[in-house]
Subunit: 97 residues, 2 copies
Amino acid sequence: MFRHVVLFRWTEDATDEDKERVARELRALPETISEIRAYHVGHDAGVNQGNYEFAVVADFDDTAGYLVYRDHPAHRAVIDKYINPYVAARAAVQYEL
Amino acid sequence: MFRHVVLFRWTEDATDEDKERVARELRALPETISEIRAYHVGHDAGVNQGNYEFAVVADFDDTAGYLVYRDHPAHRAVIDKYINPYVAARAAVQYEL
């Protein structure tokens, strides 16, 4: 398995609705991108200070499956319309499970 | 389920052995900390530029299980001895699955 992890911090002008829309739009992607094996996104629970605000953890059979997701038009549309306008910081890793 | 995600960038003086030791020491923790339900750590695969270098994704039944892990002496010892000396950047999120 091949795992993609990305964490975000949002800009100060991002509203709660903007943040919830990111989660909603991403959660619809597994219906469209069949290479996704597991997909869990969520807002930081507020347990620790200094955290990022939002997480995406997505699993694929292999690197090729991840690349289909990364470059899929439905995913790019969510990134361009709903994520990029509000990104203050981004941290990502892909790794073999 | 409650998921903990943390990504690291290492300092320039961290050797490959230092980085591999972090992975090895962390992977031993599920034997000691019974609250861990799933635990996958790994080095960035090098697919994308600008990534962080190392990921930890850990799943627990609930927030209480995560807190046991967070504060467990065996975990704190790994952080103090093998992680903190080499951290250049850290990004974390905990969220409900």
